[in-house]
Amino acid sequence: MKNRLKVLRAERNWTQAQLADALDVSRQTVNAIETGKFDPSLPLAFRAARLFALHIEEIFHDEDRSSLATES
């Protein structure tokens, strides 16, 4: 799963530590999500969406769906 967390965070000039505090997770978790090493659970994805005032699908993308859309 791909995500725009790093871009959204950078747009707001937040550090990983600040974002981690807001999402109530460790900085390591934010870093792992941003680098694509770890996919968040649905509740955490919803928290991120609420924080950025966006829909979940505006932050997280299913890679398979993206490639299918590109093909068609």
């Binding site: 707001r12 937040w14 981690a20 505090d21 807001a22 460790s26 390591q28 090493k37 770890f38 968040p40």
Partner: protein, 140 residues
């Protein structure tokens, strides 16, 4: 940063508090185990009542340590929970796989020493520490 409203107790301070609690319980368990192990010989000359009391204290403190560990893991975030779950799975697997051949080797005198339960505890502890360190390195 109007939307960044951290919870009252931050994840970091909550984890720190739980780590200290777990360390205290762990230390108490080690002390209770030492008392149970060395007490009969050095402190109360193998008096049965005191030995049973020491065993009871050890079990009670052990239960406290288990609950503290359970709470520690339950209050970690989801990535850390995954790291600890993987570490626990590896540790249990290693313990099961290693203990049976170790016991058989002892029975048929393949190893020059007696297979003791403390060897298994040490193996499990080392496996757990290495697995947690590997998990943290993997998601660093």
């Amino acid at each position: 940063m109007n939307q960044l409203k951290p919870p009252e107790i931050s994840y970091k301070s909550r984890t720190c508090k739980n780590t200290i609690r777990l360390a205290c319980w762990g230390g108490a368990w080690v002390a209770a185990t030492a008392l149970m192990g060395f007490g009969p010989k050095f402190l109360w000359n193998k008096t049965l009542v005191f030995t049973l009391l020491a065993v009871g204290v050890n079990v009670a403190v052990g239960v406290g340590m288990i609950l503290a560990n359970k709470r520690y893991i339950a209050e970690l975030d989801e990535l850390q929970q995954r790291v600890y779950l993987n570490a626990l799975a590896i540790t249990v697997g290693v313990a099961v796989v290693a203990s049976v051949p170790f016991s058989v080797m002892d029975r048929y005198h393949v190893i020059p020493f007696h297979a003791d339960i403390s060897d298994l505890v040490m193996l499990m502890s080392l496996t757990y520490v290495v697995s947690v360190a590997y998990g943290n390195w993997r998601y660093r």
